[in-house]
Every structure is written in structure tokens, then in C-alpha cells.
Amino acid sequence: MVVNKNKSSKPVIEIKEMHKWFGNFHVLKNISLGVNQGERIVICGPSGSGKSTLIRCINRLEVHQQGDIIVNNVELTGDLKNLEAIRSDVGMVFQSFNLFPHLTVLENCTLAPIWVKKLPKKEAEELAMELLTRVKIPEQALKYPGQLSGGQQQRVAIARSLCMQPKIMLFDEPTSALDPEMIKEVLDTMIELAETGMTMLVVTHEMGFAKKVADSVIFMDEGEIIEQNDPKNFFNNPKNDRTKLFLSQILNH
């Protein structure tokens, strides 16, 4: 278990009675959630339960229709200025990596810092090399994403997000597209990141990771937050029947 010394009671994300629809489909129902600085939250649930949509709402890759989302004291609205400010503070790692295939690993990492944060090229490259060293692939810096393994690509994606020096990191099923032997290297990187005190929201089915790192585990089903608890109680004494069913399905196979 990674002890969290960085957790504070300062909220960095506040979601209040938020609803979202895809057409007529009510995908997120009355979501309220507060995340404090340094807090690590794991979100799990069956597929189609809205967990990915929830974290994609936090950097407005998906637009919510009702309720409030406040990130770093800025409310998410259609205002582009606010949005770009929030997005450069919130990093995101995707299931399918989404690296830019026409750019080298290093260019992937420096593109946004140079153009969005206006960092001088040299500084951006130094920062990128530092972060690539942290995810243990500095020697791949001049290769293209297509030449790397899935696990390496996902670690580059993590480094790319970190290059923007975000305050919050969102992970959308970061290990679901990986071969089993590569899952560990990505989870290890995420655990190291957690140790630095990063605020993290992680959608994952890796319950071992949840037990080790999470301050709080959320179970979602059919667009609702069904249960939220600390990992010990969540796994040992789930209260809701649906949580019990879900845990029995993913833990006993």
C-alpha cells in the first residue's frame, strides 16, 4: 500500500448534481463527487456504466448538460479561454495511447509545452527527457511511436501528459489495450506517479492497483455512482448488491 502523505482537504475537482445525455440516452445521472488535492481515486464498473464518460467530462472532452463541474476553482463552461486553461492543467492518458504517429517520442512530449505553454524549445526538451527518464524510456526519444511496444507507448503517453506539468491526471483504462506482460510496467509507472503526490482519477479494472494506491474506490453502474469507499472496506465489505456481484465477477476468474 502506498501511503498518501500529500492528501489535503483542498478540493481541486467538484462535481455537483451533474447529468449527461447522449441523444436520448441518460448516460450520467446526478453525479456528485469531490476530489481533494493529492487524492487518488479509482473508478470501476461494468462496461457502459459511464465511468469513462465521467472522467472525460472533467476536461470537457464530453460536454455535460446539467449541473456544475468546477476544476481548480474554474467552472467548466463553453468559454474557450477557461477550457484551454483547464486542459493544460489536467493531463489525460487514453486506453489507445493516442500518440501522434508522425512525430518522434520527443516531439510528442514537447509539442504542447512549446506551443500551448510557450516554453522555450530547449527547456521543453530538457523537461521531456527528464520525464522520459522517469518513465524509463529515455533511449527511445528519437524513435517514432509505431516502433515501440504497447507498454512503451503508454509510458510515453504518460510522460507527454506530465510534460504539461498538470495538477490532475486522468487515466481512462490505461492498461486495457495492453498485452498482459506489459500491464505491469505501466502500472508501476502510475504507482511511482502516485508516490509524487499527483491527484489521480483512474478508470481501471486493475483491482490490485486500486488496493495498493487508491484513497477511495468508486463503483459505477448504469450512469450512477453506486458506492464509494476506501479500498479496504470497498473490497472486504461491499454494501450494495451490484457492487458485490461486480466484484465477484472480476475477482473470481
Binding site: N59, L61, L80, E84, A85, R87, S88, V90, G91, M92, F94, S96, N98, L99, F100, P101, H102, L103, L111, A112, W115, V116, Y144, P145, G146, Q147, A157, R160, S161, M164
Partner: protein
């Protein structure tokens, strides 16, 4: 063959069976894999021998390269009569551009390669300096070809013709239609209704009208639509039409490229806080253009060959010059030689474009390095 046994985990990498790799293997697999295949190979070789023998004979061995007329040619030998070309090569290349001023075209043509080099080959040394020249080149070329400045004799458009006309129309059309096509493709994908509607209308109109109609419009009607007092020369009007026409096609090719980019690319760029123009410049266009290279070059080649259509509005492109040559009683009936020569010119230009596009595709292929 006896199978040797190895301990598990110690099996060595063995060479492939003999006769399956290398030149011998290739010949065996592709030319003599069965009796019928071997027969076909032998028959083809014999046929090719006679065909090539005849072609080389007509083109070179029995051909006449200089004579006063077709009849004089036939008296010398019975192969091709290239005299129709060699006697009129100046016209084929320069049209009716005054002979004393043709050096200006030569210089413009040669420096064109210097101007294009840094655009086509990103790794060229001293690229930055060459790019300045590329920027300056259109003015340089305009002044040199048209004259009227710096004591250069002014040359009328109506004297332009031949391959020089083809290259001017083709290069101007290609250079102008690529940026316009990119803008139209972006416009068509835009969230702004006005921009999108205008782009769609422009593209659909240009694609829906035959090029030859547009050329007639250029030659007769375009001045009605322009503000009074403007009077473009026919050459500029034709270039505008070629540009618009191929820009519409290029826009659609690039739109295909844009739509082939996975949604995740935009989401990743969004998540990094990039704005529309940053996304377009660094994420969308590099990937979309790379995907669209074959389609774009296809359109360019089409445009280049379509420049021969200007003959219908009275401009003397190589085909026009050729027809003029054939109308001469001395050369009457040498259409095979004339059209083959023009075809060769177009083939060389288009083949070069095609090879360049292949090279570029390979260079930009970052997956297999």
C-alpha cells in the same frame, strides 16, 4: 534426410532449403514453377524479342532525324521521320516566343528546380536560404518571362506556346491549387456554418462542371463577373480556372485524409490544451496530407495533362503546335511521330511526379523505420 535431435531450447536457426531464396529461387518460383508456366515464359521471351526488335528498328535504327520533308525522309529510310520534330523543336518548346529572348525561358526553367528543391526535399542543406529564393522566385519568373521591366523586352501572352506554356499552366495551377484545396477542405469541415456552406458550394460547383466549360467561361465570360476596369490576360484567367478546378478535387482528397485520422488524435490534442489552429497545423494537416499524397499527386497529374485542353480556346500548347506542324504540307501525315513526341514529354513529367510521390510516401512512413 535425417532429422537431428536437439535438447529443448537449443534448436538452432537453420538456413532455408536450397532453391527457395536468391536469384535462382526467384526464377524457379516465378518463371518455371510448372510446365505450363515454363512454356509461357519461353513464348513471352520470343514474342518480346520480335516486338523490341521492331520497336527499336522503327524508333532508332531505321529512323530519319533530319530531312526537309516527309517525302525526303521516306527516300532515306522507312522508320520514323523525326525530322518533323527536330526541324520544329524550337516551336515545340517555346511556342512563338522570340528566338533572341528564349534564354529567358531557359533561365526561368532551370532556376525553377532550385526554387522547388527546398520545398520538395526538406533535408536539403542550406534549406533556409533556398526557401528565401523560393519565395522570391515567382516575381523573378514573372519579370523574366513577361519582360517590360529592367530593360527586358515585353513579350505578349499570345506568343506563348509549346511545352513552356504547359509548364507555366501546370506549375502555376499546381502551386496555387494545393493551398486553396487545403483551405477548402478545412472549410468544409468547419463548425462555422457560413464558411462550411461556401466551401461546399464552391467544391460542388467546380466538380460538377466540365473543365472545358470553365475554360470557355475564362476565355469569353469571366470579364463580365469581374469589376469593370479589370482586364486579366487570357493566360491568367485560364490559370485561375485550372486552380479552382483542381483545388475542388484536392479539397475532397484531403477531406478523405482528414476523416481517416482517428478521433483519438483530436482528443489527445484537446486534452493537451491545443487550440484549433495548433491542432490543424501540428496534428490534422501533417497526417491528412500524408494519407492524401497519392490522391493529391493523382489530381496534379490530371491537371497537368488537362492543360492540353487550352487548345480549344486558341492557346498553342504542344498539341496545338503539333497540329500546326501537321497542317504544313511538308509534314502532312506524320501524326504518329508528332503525337508520340508530345506523349513522351507528358509521360516524363508525370512519371517524375509519380516517383516523387512514392519517395515522399516512403520517407513519411514512420511506422516501418
Amino acid at each position: 534426410m535425417s532429422e537431428k535431435t536437439y535438447k529443448p531450447g537449443n534448436y538452432p536457426d537453420l538456413p532455408p532449403p536450397p532453391g527457395t531464396v536468391g536469384v535462382y529461387g526467384w526464377i524457379r518460383q516465378n518463371l518455371f514453377s510448372s510446365i505450363s508456366n515454363s512454356l509461357l515464359t519461353i513464348i513471352s521471351v520470343v514474342l518480346l524479342y520480335y516486338l523490341i526488335d521492331g520497336i527499336i528498328g522503327w524508333f532508332f535504327l531505321d529512323a530519319v532525324f533530319d530531312a526537309d520533308s516527309k517525302i525526303a525522309c521516306r527516300k532515306i529510310d522507312d522508320g520514323a521521320c523525326w525530322a518533323v520534330i527536330t526541324r520544329r523543336v524550337g516551336q515545340f518548346v517555346y511556342g512563338f516566343y522570340p528566338e533572341a529572348e528564349r534564354w529567358r525561358i531557359d533561365i526561368t526553367f532551370l532556376t525553377m528546380f532550385v526554387a522547388f528543391a527546398p520545398l520538395l526535399y526538406p533535408d536539403i542543406p542550406k534549406r533556409k536560404w533556398l526557401l528565401y529564393f523560393s519565395l522570391f522566385y515567382p516575381f523573378f519568373a514573372f519579370v523574366l518571362i513577361m519582360g517590360g521591366y529592367f530593360g527586358l523586352q515585353k513579350i505578349e501572352y499570345s506568343l506563348f506556346g509549346g511545352f513552356m506554356l504547359t509548364v507555366i499552366l501546370g506549375v502555376c495551377g499546381i502551386v496555387c491549387s494545393l493551398p486553396l484545396g487545403i483551405l477548402l477542405a478545412l472549410g468544409r469541415q468547419s463548425n462555422l456554418t457560413v464558411v462550411r456552406t461556401l466551401s461546399v458550394c464552391f467544391i460542388e460547383f467546380m466538380r460538377g462542371v466540365p473543365l472545358i466549360t470553365l475554360l470557355f467561361v475564362a476565355s469569353s465570360m469571366l470579364n463580365y463577373f469581374l469589376p469593370p476596369g479589370t482586364n486579366f490576360s487570357i493566360l491568367v484567367r485560364v490559370i485561375i480556372m485550372f486552380t479552382f478546378f483542381s483545388a475542388a478535387y484536392i479539397a475532397e482528397v484531403i477531406r478523405g485524409g482528414i476523416q481517416a485520422i482517428p478521433k483519438g488524435q483530436y482528443e489527445a490534442a484537446d486534452a493537451l490544451g491545443m487550440n484549433y489552429w495548433q491542432k490543424t497545423r501540428f496534428i490534422t494537416l501533417p497526417q491528412a496530407l500524408k494519407i492524401s499524397i497519392p490522391g493529391i499527386v493523382n489530381t496534379f497529374i490530371g491537371l497537368y495533362k488537362d492543360t492540353t485542353l487550352v487548345v480549344v480556346i486558341g492557346l498553342l500548347d504542344p498539341l496545338g503546335i503539333g497540329r500546326a506542324a501537321l497542317a504544313d504540307t511538308k509534314w502532312n501525315g506524320l501524326s504518329t511521330e508528332t503525337y508520340l513526341f508530345v506523349a513522351l514529354f507528358f509521360f516524363v513529367s508525370c512519371f517524375a511526379m509519380s516517383r516523387y510521390s512514392l519517395w515522399l510516401e516512403n520517407k513519411l512512413n514512420t511506422d516501418k523505420k
